[in-house]
């Protein structure tokens, strides 16, 4: 744990808390608490939009995914940004004109319908919780290297601070926290990218001379009569795990005495015979003890960071480019003769131990710089459909996220809503271009944490020194704080304003409504803490993709049809929200990824895909049209 990291971390947290205290006096009324009084300047709101949107998923998740699977991670950047086009051209101004505090207000503006109030509030809660999970997972990932605390501690710290922020000052403080954090995130990401360009690309990355480059070991083996022999090693076992052949060996001297720990090696056929590549691995034994690379896990004995380029435009050995420009950087990595060493993993039972082995894979630059490593765009029909489904959900999801929609109520006019969206597009678009450089920078600078790729960008910053790491990590932490605050404001509005005040019709004074909002914020915060601990280890951007799918399925058809189809009825809107939620969440819960979470084999999952958008969005639209047509007469007679 670095002192500077702790100091900067504490400074950022204190700054956030002071802002909350300062703005608490403006949050006495419901308008102040839920919509910042509706008088935030559009330029501040635009950057605050960026702060809301550039969450842990964008900064930690996208960079981590690009660092491990290349261009496929950048697809999230493209989709997330494209979603703002829907927000700007279709949603921004009508949302501001129709609503007051919450997304349900806008949907219900024409109808005063109990069913819309109930379903829209539930939808807001579900989408916000889906979005909260990755933010809390990101918080846990950050705290471990920053403060040396366990994942759960990070989640609890974020949860507690955010509950304090939201419970004291609501939307006003959340807006200024987002403004500050959004601005700092873009500025320091630019500094990081500039540092990556200045360092250039090397086949032997040594973090500016701070960490000597260690070449991984490769051995040649002989095989006769099915028995493999390796000089200086005793072969103990050989396993074929889904096509990956692993050999368990131990180093021995000439008298067959053990001289080192047992290790797993990856077996490959080469023109010279059999080649064995060094791997990294951890085991959890029957007593629950964790061993890493053959020794007990400790602060000193952790998985080594990975990610190198082994050939630069066909040249191997000791090659360095020196400082490069932004185009050249991408051109070098994407060259078909460049070669990147990525790492994959397999998990299996080894006797009474659970083993996970990470092994290297060499991938050419042109494959890294196009889609295909994560999303199998050239694969089976289902795999292609998954890709289309994701891109659809990202495109339509942004404009349906409750914590984004409520930010349209914090500005004074529809024109300000439009202008703040344009500021957001500029800031967010610029940041997303930077994610490509941060992700690829991590991929070739040996800074990728095998067990948690979410930390790729902060660890890349660490390779340039403690200050940049501490600053980037503290901002990333503020990123999580800000986004979680926005989500909790949206959730507390759904409970206090939509459910209790409007749906249940409980008479409340302005003061009571704010108090209830604060209590709701506390409850949602506790739920977020629990889920953040349960979902530890999943890529945060992947999780956010699900939140977008649920938002796009539940909310967007209702908003669009309300604006553009005169025959839309209240029952049609309520039905489409319910069907959208059930279809999207149902598909996610039955997906292979969730099956793994349940502790079951992914292959046994009832569905072979996990991106629901392509089914759930059209289904929600169809439901709205059919139910609206069926309820036309009733609407007219009413």
């Amino acid at each position: 744990m670095e002192i500077l990291s702790v100091v900067l971390f504490v400074f950022i947290v204190l700054l956030v808390l002071v802002l909350s205290w300062f703005f608490a006096r403006r949050s006495k009324s419901a308008s102040g608490y839920f919509a910042a009084g509706g008088n935030i300047h559009w330029s501040v709101n635009g950057i605050a939009f960026a702060g809301d949107y550039l969450s842990a998923a964008s900064f930690l998740g996208i960079c981590g995914m690009i660092a491990t699977v290349g261009y496929d991670g950048f697809l999230y950047s493209i989709g997330y940004l494209a979603g703002w086009i829907v927000a700007l051209f279709v949603i921004a101004e009508p949302m501001k004109r129709m609503g007051k505090y919450t997304f349900a207000d806008a949907l219900d503006s024409k109808y005063n319908s109990k069913s819309i109030q109930l379903t829209a509030a539930i939808s807001t809660l579900i989408v916000s919780i889906c979005y909260l999970i990755p933010q809390m997972v990101g918080a846990g990932s950050l705290v471990t290297p920053l403060l040396g605390l366990p994942h759960a501690a990070g989640v609890v710290i974020v949860g507690s601070i955010v509950i304090f922020i939201v419970a004291t000052a609501g939307m006003t403080s959340t807006t200024y926290v987002q403004f500050l954090k959004g601005g700092l995130l873009v500025i320091f990401s630019l500094v990081l990218v500039f540092s990556v360009m200045s360092r250039g690309i090397s086949t032997k990355p040594d973090q500016g001379g701070k960490v000597p480059f260690q070449k991984s070991v490769e051995l040649t083996a002989m095989e006769s009569d099915g028995v493999m022999q390796v000089d200086g090693f005793k072969v103990l076992d050989e396993k074929d795990i889904a096509g990956v052949v692993l050999v368990k060996m131990v180093p021995v001297d000439s008298n067959q005495n053990l001289t080192g720990p047992v290790a797993w090696w990856k077996k490959m056929k080469s023109p010279d015979g059999i080649q064995l590549c060094e791997t990294q691995f951890f085991n959890i034994n029957a007593n629950g003890e964790k061993w890493i690379n053959g020794a007990p896990a400790s602060e000193e004995n952790q998985l080594l960071q990975v990610g190198t380029i082994t050939k630069i435009r066909g040249k191997a050995g000791d090659v360095e480019t020196g400082p490069v420009g932004p185009f050249k950087f991408l051109a070098i990595i994407g060259d078909k003769n460049s070669e990147i060493k990525r790492w994959k993993s397999v998990s299996f039972e080894d006797g009474d131990e659970q083993a996970t082995v990470y092994y290297p894979v060499l991938t050419s630059g042109n494959t890294i710089m196009r889609p295909g490593l994560k999303f199998k765009v050239g694969g089976t029909g289902i795999e292609r459909m998954e890709f289309i489904s994701l891109m659809l959900a990202l495109f339509f999801g942004t404009a349906a996220l409750p914590h984004i929609l409520i930010r349209y109520y914090t500005v004074p006019s529809a024109a300000c809503a439009r202008k703040s969206t344009i500021v957001a597009i500029a800031a967010i678009g610029f940041f997303y271009i930077l994610t490509m450089y941060m992700g690829l920078g991590a991929m070739v600078n040996k800074v990728v944490n095998l067990a948690d790729n979410n930390m790729s960008a902060p660890l890349l910053a660490k390779s340039f020194g403690t200050f940049l790491f501490s600053m980037i990590s503290a901002i990333a932490f503020a990123t999580v704080l800000g986004t979680v605050s926005g989500l909790i404001v949206a959730s507390s509005g759904a409970i206090a304003h939509d459910l209790v005040d409007r749906f249940s019709g409980v008479e409340m004074t302005d003061k009571q409504k704010v108090r209830l909002g604060r209590i709701a914020a506390f409850a949602v915060g506790i739920v977020a803490i629990i889920l953040g601990i349960v979902f530890k280890g999943m890529n945060v951007s992947f999780l956010v993709g699900w939140a977008f799918a649920v938002a796009a399925s539940a909310n967007l058809p209702a908003i669009l049809m309300l604006l553009f189809w005169k025959k839309t009825t209240a029952k049609g809107i309520a039905a489409s929200i319910v069907v959208g939620i059930i279809a999207a969440i149902g598909i996610i819960l039955l997906s292979p990824e969730m099956w793994v979470r349940y502790g079951l084999p992914a292959a046994d999952a009832p569905l072979k895909f996990g991106q629901p958008g392509i089914f759930s969005i059209p289904l929600s639209f169809i439901t709205l049209v059919v139910v609206s047509l069926m309820t036309q007469k009733k609407t007219k007679s009413a």
Binding site: G37, G38, N39, I40, H41, W42, S43, V44, Y71, S77, I78, L81, A82, W84, I85, V86, L88, F89, V90, E93, R97, Y176, F327, K328, L330, A331, I332, G334, D335, K336, N366, M369, R370, P371, G372, V377, G378, R384, F387, I388, M391, F395, V411, P412, S413, A414, A415, C416, R418, K419, T421, I422, I425, A426, G429, Y432, I433, M436, L563, F564
Partner: protein, 97 residues
Amino acid sequence: MLHEPAVVEGKDYAIGYKMRVGVIMFVLYALVYAGFVIINVSNPVKMESIVFSGLNLAVVYGFGLIIFALILALIYNGLCTKKEALLNKKTESKEGR
């Protein structure tokens, strides 16, 4: 702290125009976005083709989608602001008379 005064909005006579322009621009962007998705699933190797300065189609199209979004947004704002000024001022002066 950069707070604008809370204002009660007057009637906006440019709503119809802004909606029409918004929908046209939305469709335009959606088509370009769909093109990106279609190339990826129908001919993913095409994304490797070098377009300029050693940058492949995937990078140029991806960055292009982000920059195109900003350009469209600025054009949209310019058109809307102009129309708002024209229609709302014209109507206000008529009402004033």
